[in-house]
C-alpha cells in the first residue's frame, strides 16, 4: 500500500488552495457558516457556483465533453477537501450531481445541449420529485401519474400527483420527477423520468418547515401539469432504471469526511474560548476531549474509507454497496458533530433563533453570538441526515443483503 499523495497531487492541491484563497469571498464563506440548513440558499450557493463556473471548475465531476475538468478521482477528492477546509458552501447537488449525469448519460442530444449549459450558468435551478407522501423509503410504490396525450399542441404528458420532501422547490424553475406512465405495469415498471417546468399554473408548492423552522423542503402538488414528451429522459418506462442510476451516482465517490473534519476542528477551536465553570476552558476538560477524540476517530476512519473507494473507482471499479457504508457513517458522524457543537455552548447552545437568514443585513441581532444562533438549528436539521437519501435502516438492509449476503 502506498497511501501518500503523489507530487502531482500535491501540486494540484496547492493550486486549488491558491484559487480558494483568492476567490472564496468572505460573504460566501460567512453565509455558509451562518446557514443551519443542509443546503445553502441560492443567494449563497449560486454565488459560489458562479465563481467556480468562471474558473471552469464547476462541472468537475462531468465528462470533459460536457464541461468537465478531466480530474482523477483523487483530484476530485482533493478539490472537495480543500473547499471544505476553506469553509466553502456545499455545492447544490440537485442540478450538478443528480440530474446532470442522467441527462448526459441518457439524454437526447437536444436535451444535453439545452439543459447542461443552463445548469452551469445558473439559469436553471433544479429540484427532485421522487418521494411521495405515501411512499417513504419505498420509491417503487409511487402514485404520481403521467397520461400521454397528443393533440394540436403536440405530444405531451399530463401529470397529476404530489411530491414531498422536495428540497428547494420554492426556488427551483425545473423539477426532474418520476411519474407512472403505465398504470397497469407492476411497481418498478411503467415509471418514466420527466423534466418538469415549475413555472406553470398546475404547480403549487407548500412549505414544510423543519424542526428548526427552516424552509428547505416542500410538498409539490401537480395538477394537470404538462410535460412535452421531448422532456422525458430515456425511454418510456425507463424511469426506475434512471432513478437507480442517479441514486447510485449520488452515493458513489463521496467526500463527507473533510467537511466533518473541518466542522470538528472549528468546534475544537471554539472550545478554547468556552469556559468550563472552573476558570479554565472546555479545551482542557478531559471528558470533553475524550468525546471529541472518539468522534475524530470516526471522521478519520471515514476519510480513509472514502479514499479507498475513490482509489477503487480510479482503478476502474464501480462504486458498490460500500457507498451505503459511507452514507451510514457520514450521517451518524454529522449528527454527533452537530450535537457536540450545541453541547459545547452549554446553556447558550439551547437558543433556537427562527428568523432567517442569519447572514447579511437582515440577520437578527445575536444575543449570545452567531454560534448559538446556528448550533441548535443545525443539530435539529441534521436529524434528517439519517433519513434522506435512504434511511439508515435502508442502508443497513442494503449492506446486509449485498455485502454480508444475509
Amino acid at each position: 500500500m502506498d497511501l501518500d499523495l503523489s507530487p502531482q497531487d500535491l501540486a494540484f492541491r496547492d493550486e486549488v488552495r491558491a484559487f480558494l484563497a483568492e476567490n472564496l469571498t468572505a460573504e460566501i464563506r460567512d453565509g455558509a457558516a451562518a446557514t443551519p440548513s443542509v443546503f445553502v440558499e441560492p443567494e449563497i450557493g449560486q454565488a459560489w457556483n458562479a465563481v467556480l463556473h468562471r474558473k471552469g471548475w464547476l462541472a468537475y465531476q462531468w465528462p470533459r465533453e460536457y464541461g468537465g475538468t478531466g480530474w482523477s478521482p483523487v483530484q476530485r477528492y482533493i478539490f472537495e477537501k480543500e473547499c471544505a477546509e476553506a469553509g466553502a458552501p456545499n455545492l447544490t447537488v440537485l442540478g450538478l450531481k443528480l440530474v446532470a449525469p442522467v441527462i448526459y448519460a441518457f439524454g437526447t442530444p437536444e436535451q444535453k445541449a439545452h439543459y447542461l449549459p443552463r445548469i452551469l450558468s445558473g439559469e436553471d435551478y433544479w429540484c427532485q420529485g421522487f418521494s411521495e407522501p405515501a411512499s417513504g423509503s419505498d420509491l417503487a410504490s409511487l402514485q404520481c401519474r403521467a397520461v400521454r396525450v397528443s393533440d394540436e399542441r403536440g405530444e405531451r404528458y399530463v401529470v397529476n400527483g404530489s411530491k414531498i420532501w422536495t428540497t428547494h422547490a420554492h426556488w427551483a424553475n425545473r423539477m426532474f420527477c418520476l411519474a407512472r406512465t403505465d398504470a397497469s405495469a407492476h411497481k418498478n415498471a411503467g415509471i418514466s423520468f420527466l423534466l418538469v417546468d415549475m413555472n406553470q399554473p398546475g404547480i403549487s408548492v407548500r412549505p414544510i418547515l423543519t424542526l428548526a423552522g427552516d424552509h428547505e423542503v416542500n410538498q409539490v402538488f401537480l395538477e394537470d401539469v404538462e410535460v412535452p414528451v421531448s422532456d422525458r429522459v430515456g425511454a418510456e418506462g425507463d424511469g426506475w432504471k434512471l432513478a437507480k442510476f442517479l441514486l447510485e451516482n449520488e452515493r458513489g465517490g463521496s467526500c463527507h469526511a473533510p467537511k466533518l473534519a473541518y466542522d470538528l476542528r472549528r468546534i475544537e477551536a471554539d472550545a478554547t474560548a468556552q469556559p468550563d465553570g472552573h476558570g479554565g476552558t472546555m479545551a482542557g476538560n478531559a471528558e470533553w476531549r475524550r468525546r471529541v477524540a472518539r468522534i475524530r476517530l470516526g471522521v478519520e476512519s471515514l476519510e480513509m474509507i472514502e479514499l479507498k473507494i475513490l482509489s477503487e473507482i480510479a482503478h476502474g471499479q464501480k462504486p458498490g454497496p460500500q457507498t451505503s457504508l459511507v452514507k451510514l457513517l457520514a450521517s451518524n458522524l454529522r449528527q454527533d458533530i452537530d450535537l457536540l457543537a450545541m453541547d459545547l455552548l452549554g446553556v447558550a447552545g439551547l437558543e433556537l433563533e427562527r428568523q432567517r437568514p442569519l447572514y447579511g443585513a437582515q440577520a437578527p441581532q445575536a444575543v449570545h453570538g452567531l454560534p448559538s444562533q446556528v448550533a441548535a438549528a443545525r443539530y435539529l436539521n441534521s436529524r434528517a441526515w439519517t433519513i434522506f437519501g435512504g434511511t439508515n435502516e435502508v442502508q443497513a438492509g442494503i449492506i446486509a443483503k449485498t455485502v454480508l449476503h444475509l
Binding site: 420532501w165 418547515l209 437558543e351 434511511t391
Partner: protein, 372 residues
Amino acid sequence: MNFELSEEETMLAGLADRFVADRYDIERRRAYLAEAQGFSKENWDLLAECGLMAAPLAQADGGMELEPGAIVALFAALGRGLVVEPLAESVLVGARLLLAGAADSLADAWREGLASGAQRVALAHAEPGQRGNRAWVETRSQAGAEGVRLTGVKHCVPAGQGADAFLVSARANDGGTGADGIAFYLVSADAPGLTITPWRLIDGSVAVHLTLDNVVVPASHRLAGGLDLLDQIMPLADLARAAEAVGVMQRIFDETLEYLRTRSQFNTPLGRFQAIQHRMVAHYCALEQSRALLNLALVGGAERDFAQAVAGARAFISDVSLSLGHDMIQFHGGMGVTDELAIGHGHKRLVLLSRWPEEPLAKLDRYAGLAA
C-alpha cells in the same frame, strides 16, 4: 409498599389531564408559544384557578405543600400533554426560592400574588462562565448606603419574559469562586440599569438575557442564605423536570407506537420490522427504568439522600430521553424532522430538559459525588 397512586396523586394527574384535553392540541400549542412570554396567559390563569399553581407551595403560603409523589404525578401529566406553561420554573423554582429566603415583610408582599399566579418571579443564576458549576458567579454585589449595587450578566433566565421580578445571584467577595459570598437579590423587572433581552429556547419557550449595570436594590431584597437556598429548592424542581421528561417520553413513544402499527412500507406495517421492534423495546426498557428512578426518589427513610436520588434520575433520564427522541423522529421518517408533529415538539422539550440547568454529565457527576 404500595405502587398505586394515592387519591391526591390521582386527582392532580386528572386535573392536569383535563386541562390538556380542554386546552391543548398541536396548533393551539403553537399559538401559546407564539405569545410574547412564550406561553398562554389564559392558560396560566386557568392553572391558577384550578389550584395547580399554588399546590406546590407551603400551606402557610397558600399551597398544598405537595409531596414528591404528587409532584411526579402532576408533572408527568403535564409532560404527556406537552404543556408549555412554566410551572416548574416559575413556581417550584422562582416562587419557592423567594418564599424560602425572603424576610417576612418581603414574603408578605409577594405571597398572595405568587399563589394566585398574578405575579411571577424568575431565577437569574446562570451565567456564561458557569457551566455545571453552580458556584461560579461573576455578577458582583456591592453594599452601600443606598442599598446593594448589582452588576453582571445573567444570560439564561427561562420564563423570564413578563416576570415581575428576578432573583439574581451575585457575589460580594473578590475573585472567590466558592459558594461563600453568594447571595440572591430580588430585582424588580423595571429596575433602572436592568436590560432585559428575550430570546427563544430550543423548545420554543422564551428566556431572557439580563444585563445588570449598577442596578440598585434595597438591602431588604437580599434573601437569607446563599447557594444553600438552591440545594433546598432544586431537588424538588429537578424531580418535576425529570417527571415532565418521562411524561414527554411516554407521549412521543406512544404516538410512535401507534404510527408503527398503522404505517406500512414495502407492504408491511413498520412495526413488523424486527430491527425497529428491538429498538422500541430498548426505549421501552429505558422508559420503565426512568419511571423506576422517579419512584426510587420517593422512597423515604433517613438513610436516603433525596437530592442524590433526584440527580441520578435526572442523569439517567437526560441520556435516555435524547436517544429516545432521536429514534422516535427517525421512525417517523421525513415527517419526523418537520415542525408538524408532536414528536418533534416533544423532542425539543426533551433536549431542553436534558440540558437545563446543566448538561447531563454534570447531573451524573452530582449523583456520583464528583460535584457539589
